[in-house]
Amino acid sequence: MPGITREEVAHLARLARLELKDEELDHFAGQLDDIIGAVARVSEVADQDVPPTSHPLPLTNVMRADEVRPSLTPEQALSGAPAQEQQRFKVPQILGEES
């Protein structure tokens, strides 16, 4: 497996919406490389014919009755909002100016 480079960390950070500082890129590249190097042992079983387990319980869809129940009021739901307007979450601009 290839080592994790500074550029790769920058790419991962973009995917994960983390605006990392320059000095963090170097710091994390070394650490992530160490961790990946250590945990890569799992690929020892990659060729084995073993079904994957994603969850400890054999889960199927769990449905509930479609009934009206008490829920949060708009005030409660918005109580933690960084910004709000007219009973809505107010967010920064999503589309560019030109669109």
Binding site: L15, I35, S54, P56, L59, G80, A81, A83, V91
Partner: protein, 500 residues
């Protein structure tokens, strides 16, 4: 009884009994614990928030119920320290992170609701590694917690605030969450009892998600019976959590009161010793196994070869799930928002807020998970980790055909000094070596004290693992071992902790 120190040293069971009989009021008990917090928590830093008014109001309600002749629950009036990962309506819930600083949840977690309904008094919220990611509580954005046995050492993690609170007699009960050992490892290094119930045994509704297929809330206490009483109060099916098991709660209190291992088959996991295990930990563990034999258990060695890959699989699965779960922290609906000055897009604001709000370990795990799930690496990493998970389940299944419970040391070493592993993630991860397999398979597991390591005088934990939904076996075995040790030592191990 007016001696507040004596009140704080009672077990939860004793406290409840005294409140029920009228020997103590719930308000007296609560005030005694609030005074203890006032006196020692500046040194320990177990609590992130103390809810004095809320606690006293709940205590007064319990006393009023008793005065009115209403029946009280088995833990009514008993104080508890709640890990800051469970939402509490109108009371700060930070998960140890700056990203939720100042947030007041608009609802209670199911666990919080059940505690309140049981008349349990929530004293406050305890410190933890940010988003429960860590083994030392050093990853808290609000500073570390000290281990009451030696304040320069870690109290375990992620639930170090909860374990330190009970070990320093600031509360007789606490609640933790265990994704890879975050209840059991803190219990081991503080000389207390901690239980990870079977996956699905306790509702995750309102418990901030880290790794949803592994996370499980559970009880922390100073005795096995107290842990059982709290287990029963918090467990049970919850329609608000689709992974909650719809089955009766295992009879844990009954098992803790019975406490016998005669005729039981106990397996010693072969993989959990050798290189990296502290001599004093192995010595105390071997003595605990000898105690099990003396009590009439049949002890055999059990081989679980896939456990050697558990740590690696865990550090792919947990970060993968966390990278997805923590995507909800987008600075749009709640939590920290940075850079909303008209010059940044919503996407930029999300990235700036996450950069400012998350600490290093959280960022590491989010990126690790993003990497493991990315195309080209998915099969080799996440896919293989899921296969390892199957192999570990199979190892457990074949072990439990031969034995009723498995035992091992809870941790390879005793509490290490604060700062020692802070910038070496892999060294930190090794603290969870023995606890992780039970999370991957969904089994129930407990840690309880089995003595002090001769070389450093610090607590050592004995781990007991039971099959899923057989949680009562932990208590049956744990109570028997605890009673044997109390007889040998003349007291519970925690009595030897410094008074602070």
């Amino acid at each position: 009884m007016t001696d507040t120190t004596a009140i704080t040293r009672l077990t939860a069971a004793e406290t409840a009994e005294k409140i029920a009989s009228g020997a103590l009021t719930a308000v007296e008990v609560t005030e005694a614990h609030l005074a203890r917090i006032e006196a020692v928590d500046e040194k320990v830093h177990a609590f992130l928030h103390v809810d004095r008014e809320g606690a006293l109001a709940q205590a007064r309600a319990v006393d009023a119920k008793r005065a009115a002749g209403e029946e009280l629950g088995p833990l009514a009036g008993v104080p508890l320290a709640l890990k800051d990962i469970f939402t509490t309506e109108g009371v700060p819930t930070t998960v140890g992170s700056k990203i939720l600083e100042g947030w007041l949840p608009p609802y209670d977690a199911t666990v919080t609701k059940r505690l309140k309904a049981a008349g349990i008094v929530i004293l406050g919220k305890t410190n933890m590694d940010e988003f429960a990611m860590g083994s030392s509580t050093e990853n808290s954005a609000y500073g570390p917690t000290g281990n009451p046995w030696d304040l320069t050492r870690i109290p375990g993690g992620s639930g170090g605030g909860s374990s330190a609170a009970i070990a320093s007699f600031q509360a007789p009960l606490a609640i933790g969450t265990d994704t890879g050992g975050s209840i059991r490892q803190p219990a081991a290094v503080t000389g207390t009892v901690g239980v990870k119930p079977t996956y699905g045994g306790v509702s995750r509704y309102g418990m901030v998600a880290f790794s949803s297929s592994l996370d499980q809330g559970g009880p922390c206490a100073r005795t096995v019976l107290d842990a059982a009483l709290l287990h029963e109060a918090m467990a049970g099916h919850d329609p608000l959590d689709s992974t909650s098991v719809d089955a009766p709660v295992p009879p844990v209190v009954e098992a803790a009161r019975a406490g016998s291992v005669a005729g039981m088959r106990v397996g010693v996991v072969k993989q959990f010793r050798g290189e990296g295990y502290q001599a004093g930990v192995v010595q105390r563990f071997d003595e605990a196994v000898a105690v099990l034999k003396e009590l009439g258990a049949e002890v055999v060695e059990v081989d679980c070869p896939s456990f050697d890959l558990a740590l690696s699989a865990y550090y792919l699965i947990a970060p993968s799930e966390c990278s997805s779960n923590l995507a909800r922290f987008d600075a749009m609906r709640y939590g920290l928002r940075v850079g909303d000055d008209g010059s940044h897009s919503a996407e930029d604001v999300t990235a700036l807020s996450r950069e400012a709000g998350f600490g290093d370990e959280v960022k590491r795990r989010i990126m690790l998970g993003t990497y493991a799930l990315s195309s080209g690496y998915y099969d080799a990493y996440y896919g293989s980790a899921q296969k390892v998970r199957t192999l570990i389940k199979r190892d457990f299944e074949s072990a439990f055909e031969r034995v009723d419970v498995l035992v091992s040391p809870t941790t390879p070493t005793t509490a290490f000094p604060i700062g020692e592993r802070a910038d070496d993630p892999m060294a930190m991860y090794l603290a969870d070596l023995c606890t992780i397999p039970a999370n991957l398979a969904g089994n129930a597991a407990m840690s309880l004290p089995c003595g002090l390591a001769p070389e450093d005088g610090l607590p050592v934990g004995l781990q007991i693992i039971a099959p899923a939904m057989k949680d009562e076996r932990l208590y049956q075995v744990g109570a028997a071992v605890e009673a044997a040790f109390v007889e040998k030592w003349g007291h519970h191990l925690i009595e030897e902790a410094p008074s602070l």
